[in-house]
């Protein structure tokens, strides 16, 4: 149980960072929408889970936030990537690609490759 949420949090954090990297400052709902658009299911329900992740990233210094006005002209909290966050994103992107590549190769293995 715990592990599953950890993995989810980890991937979610990476998605948040990437979204902010590509789209610039966004409020929570905006981030949720983008992630939903790209990942489909992940945030179709339980959009709320995003907020603890945002808080964690902010406390780590990867993002920061300030109040701004939303589309319908109400007060909303806008998040944006910091310098640290950008570095973290780069490092984690590389990690992910490496891991994905290795796992990918494992899935492609056929019995004759190992003999």
């Amino acid at each position: 149980m715990k592990q599953k949420t950890d993995v989810l949090q980890g991937t979610l954090a990476l998605m948040v960072l990437k979204t902010l990297d590509v789209l610039g400052p966004l409020h929570g709902y905006g981030i949720a929408r983008r992630i939903e658009q790209i990942s489909g299911d992940l945030l179709a329900v339980n959009q709320g889970t995003l907020y603890p992740v945002l808080l964690k990233l902010e406390q780590e210094g990867a993002i920061d936030s300030e109040w701004g006005a939303s589309e319908n002209n109400r007060r909303a909290r806008f998040y944006q990537l910091t310098k640290d966050g950008r570095k973290q994103l780069q490092a984690e992107t590389q990690d992910w690609q490496q891991t994905a590549a290795i796992i990918g190769r494992f899935f492609e293995v056929k019995p004759e490759d190992l003999s």
Partner: protein
């Protein structure tokens, strides 16, 4: 770095909770508003749009929980909450809290005191550099710590394992710094003593091996810091000053650093003097006598990389060389290493055994206290089962509730531990400055250090968790539905519960303690009434050494005779006798003796190793030692007369087979002297009160002179008056002679000191154990009566007689008590074997002790169940049944 930053942010957030909560609420509201707007655009009805938005957002409360957990440090927040709650709960039941805190304070305090002493005397090494490689050398199968000087010299020069070997000896001297001659305790050491230990002077310089050039060549003094401070008022000009030691000029070389107080942990000397000056210090020089083993103790640092086993092998090879080369003097020269500080294993072994035993008992007491508090906590948890049930029903996890219970237990134990530690530190500081014996330089330096504090903290935490763990099972098995429905979990089952078991254990522990303290007290009483071989009542002692006033071997006998005659002339004095060393004080000299037929006088052929006393003719009279046959000495038994001896019954039995054969018989000393036995006296106590009968022989002072002397002044008069008269008489004879005047009874207290201390500490622990088990039984009985009130009421209503009610209410408590006491008594009898080494005649197979234990335990049981019994009997079934 990142996690540290996060930690501090979270710590900060824990403090500023409100503002954050507001921000999250606003963000959620905005998120849902935006989603609703989106849904509206998609064509949903307003209500449905909002519903969908909420659904999509997911569980708000669960998310908030995650958010909060992420934001702050939940465990710290919860801990603070638990602490606050625990404090509130404890304040709500001050009686319970007070009992728990006091119990813990007393038991943890007792443990830290015992540990403090153990730590200071056994665990803490001597305060010298590289103490871990410092060892004392012991000889032979008896682990003797004393060596002769020539043996020491051979060991020092022939071994290859020690960096250096130093030797030292404790003795008393007279010191005259210009006014008021006084006696002082010193360590006589070899010249290399300070260098071998690696000590640097605080002031001036130390003496070295290079200062030794034969007898009396190094008249130097190195003062301890304490003596310099007390007697020279920190005067830095003291270096180079010449003072009179036993009327010989000695130069003060320097002062040792304050933290170095010699190489015996409990003996604090006043200063150090080179051993080569033995003649001036002790009145005679016996350094070159290989067979003379005084009190010279040897120690040194092992070379780097040499293991103790290698060192022992090395010493043994030197030993076998010594055995071969000096067969007359050196028998059985095998060696072992021991920790220095407590005179090797001589004091070390009994001390270690006693302190370990005491520590064990103190630990048992703490366990008993934990058992006690555990059942109190369990009872409390049972009373709180409704609260627990409600919390469980509201969704609190069992872990959360257990954490709360543990917080409460640990809080109590920490408070108790802090109080106990405070008390024990006071006590230890008091002990450290206490001088148990007025005439000896004994001190018990047990100042607490970090170890003591750490152990107290550890014990508090451990006991908190221990007794906190008792109600765990009970809480985990709480069924909220049942509890709330039926009111309480009053299942006073017939099954044996943990609580019962704890109580039995506790009573057993208490019975062990009561048994051992009774055994000790009995032993002490018996030792006070046993025959010592002398009568300490109505006798005063004048202790001195004539060497302190500069008397030489030729003038000593005349002076001694003059002193005896002068004291005998005091009105009220019945007789005055002289002995070189008082029995039961500072141990005794012993020597090998041989039967008359033995030709080869090797130590291995010795018939006995009796203790020797050199006495004046009237000694037996003054000491009131019974002469069983033959005659005592006269002043004509001098150097011109044939050598004679009076021996005790044990000696006579060992050498001659029986007392009747002994009189007129001959035996030999190791130098070949034939000595005729002229008299037999009763056996006595010579080394310690706990010893078995030992052979002893008495030699006439004129044939075997000694400047060490103790005059026994027997009188039937007022000791106050007599003391004054004795003092002025001695001072009239020689004003420059320092001496101690003390009653024999008082002096005997030092011999009784170890068993007194043992009895006192056991008594205190026994009383504590008794108190604990009493409260334990009381708690159990009271709780069981209060729980079964209704049942008892019904029984009474149905016609049960008081006897039956009592049996129903308290039968269990009494059964547990009986069972626990029996187990404890058995264990106590086993444990008392340890005691026998310290307390005289400590035997648990003593009907009085057994009866005492049974009586004490039943009395305890009676006291503890009295109030609950009254309560059970006073139940009025009418009121009770109407109430429920």
């Amino acid at each position: 770095m990142k996690s540290l930053k996060r930690f501090f942010t979270r710590l900060f957030n824990s403090a500023a909770r409100r503002a954050q909560e507001e921000r999250l609420r606003e963000e959620i509201a905005e998120h849902i508003a935006l989603q609703t707007a989106e849904n509206l655009r998609a064509g949903l009805s307003p209500i449905e749009a909002r519903r969908q938005a909420m659904l999509k957002f997911g569980g708000v409360e669960g998310m908030k929980q995650d958010y909060r957990a992420e934001r702050g440090l939940p465990w710290i927040e919860n801990l603070l909450l638990d602490l606050r709650f625990a404090l509130r709960m404890l304040c709500k039941s001050p009686g319970f809290t007070a009992v728990a805190v006091v119990t813990l304070a007393v038991t943890i305090g007792a443990n830290s005191v015992v540990f403090g002493v153990l730590n200071a005397l056994i665990l803490r090494p001597l305060n010298v550099p590289n103490a871990h490689s410092l060892y004392a050398i012991e000889r032979g199968p008896d682990m003797a710590v004393n060596h002769s000087y020539p043996d020491y010299r051979d060991l020092r020069d022939r071994n290859r394992s020690f960096e250096n070997l130093a030797a030292y000896n404790v003795t008393g001297v007279g010191l005259d710094t210009g006014h008021n001659p006084s006696s002082a305790w010193i360590l006589e050491t070899t010249g290399n003593y300070f260098d071998a230990l690696g000590i640097e002077p605080y002031l001036g310089r130390f003496f070295h091996a290079s200062d030794e050039h034969g007898p009396n060549s190094a008249p130097y003094i190195v003062l301890t810091y304490a003596y310099w401070h007390a007697h020279f008022q920190d005067d830095r000009g003291v270096v180079g000053r010449v003072v009179q030691l036993n009327k010989h000029p000695f130069t003060i070389l320097g002062v040792a650093p304050p933290e170095f107080r010699g190489t015996l942990l409990i003996v604090f000397p006043d200063f150090w003097v080179p051993l080569v000056n033995q003649e001036q210090v002790e009145g005679e020089n016996v350094l070159e006598a290989r067979g003379n083993r005084g009190l010279l103790m040897v120690l040194g640092h092992l070379k780097a990389g040499v293991t103790p086993a290698q060192a022992v092998a090395d010493l043994n090879s030197v030993g076998s060389y010594l055995e071969k080369t000096y067969p007359k003097d050196d028998g059985h020269m095998t060696f072992t290493l021991a920790r220095p500080g407590l005179a090797g294993d001589w004091l070390g072994t009994p001390m270690r055994a006693f302190l370990t035993g005491l520590m064990l008992l103190a630990g048992l007491i703490l366990l008993a206290a934990c058992a006690n508090l555990g059942s109190l906590f369990a009872a409390r948890a049972a009373d709180r089962s409704r609260e627990v049930a409600v919390r469980l029903a509201l969704g609190s996890g069992p872990m959360r509730i257990l954490r709360q219970l543990f917080t409460e237990a640990v809080l109590v134990s920490l408070i108790g531990g802090a109080v106990g530690l405070w008390g024990s530190v006071q006590l230890l500081h008091g002990l450290s400055v206490w001088q148990p014996l007025p005439t000896a330089p004994l001190q018990v330096p047990v100042t607490p250090d970090a170890n003591v504090y750490a152990v107290a903290l550890l014990l508090s935490l451990a006991s908190g968790f221990l007794f906190g763990a008792v109600p765990v099972r009970q809480v985990l098995h709480t069924d909220p539905y049942q509890v709330i429905k039926s009111g309480s979990t009053s299942k006073m089952g017939r099954r044996i519960s943990i609580r019962d078991l704890l109580l039995v254990v506790q009573i057993a522990i208490c019975a062990v303690l009561v048994t051992s303290s009774l055994v000790a007290v009995r032993g002490l009483v018996r030792s006070l009434h046993s025959t010592f071989g002398f009568e300490p009542r109505n006798a005063m002692l004048v202790e001195t050494a004539l060497s302190m006033a500069g008397y030489s071997a030729d003038t000593v006998p005349a002076m001694q005779k003059r002193m005896i005659e002068a004291l005998e002339a005091i009105p009220g004095v019945k007789s005055v006798g002289l002995v070189d060393r008082l029995p039961l004080y500072y141990g005794a000299n012993s020597t090998h003796v041989f039967t008359d037929k033995t030709a080869d006088l090797l130590p291995a052929n010795a018939a006995a190793q009796p203790v020797i006393y050199n006495i004046s003719p009237e000694y037996f009279d003054a000491a009131q030692t019974t002469l069983l046959g033959g005659r005592t000495f006269t002043w004509h038994d001098d150097r011109n007369a044939p050598p004679v001896a009076v021996v005790n019954r044990e000696f006579a039995g060992k050498i001659f087979g029986s007392a009747t054969n002994a009189i007129g018989g001959y035996f030999k000393r190791h130098d070949g002297t034939r000595i005729q036995v002229v008299g037999i006296v009763e056996d006595g106590k010579y080394g310690s009160l706990a010893e078995d009968s030992q052979p002893a022989m008495f030699l006439p002072i004129l044939q075997s002179p000694s400047n060490q002397m103790c005059l026994v002044v027997r009188s039937n008069g007022d000791s106050q008056q007599l003391a004054k008269a004795i003092k002025s008489t001695v001072q009239d004879l020689d004003a420059g002679l320092p001496f101690n005047l003390v009653s024999w009874n008082k002096e005997l207290e030092s011999a009784l000191f170890p068993s007194r201390m043992a009895t006192l500490s056991l008594g205190v622990l026994g009383a504590m154990g008794a108190l604990l088990s009493m409260t334990g039984i009381f708690g159990m009985a009271a709780y069981s009566v209060s729980k079964r009130k209704r049942e008892l009421g019904i029984r009474m209503a149905l016609g049960a007689q008081p006897k039956e009610v009592l049996r129903a209410a308290l039968g269990r408590a009494v059964k547990l008590l009986t069972f626990g006491s029996a187990a404890g008594l058995l264990l106590g009898i086993l444990a008392s074997r340890v005691l026998a080494s310290i307390v005289y005649q400590a035997t648990p197979r003593d009907p009085l002790v057994l009866a005492g234990v049974v009586l004490a335990m039943s009395l305890l049981g009676l006291l503890a169940t009295w109030i609950p019994a009254q309560r059970a009997l006073s139940i009025d079934p009418m009121i009770l049944l109407r109430e429920e």
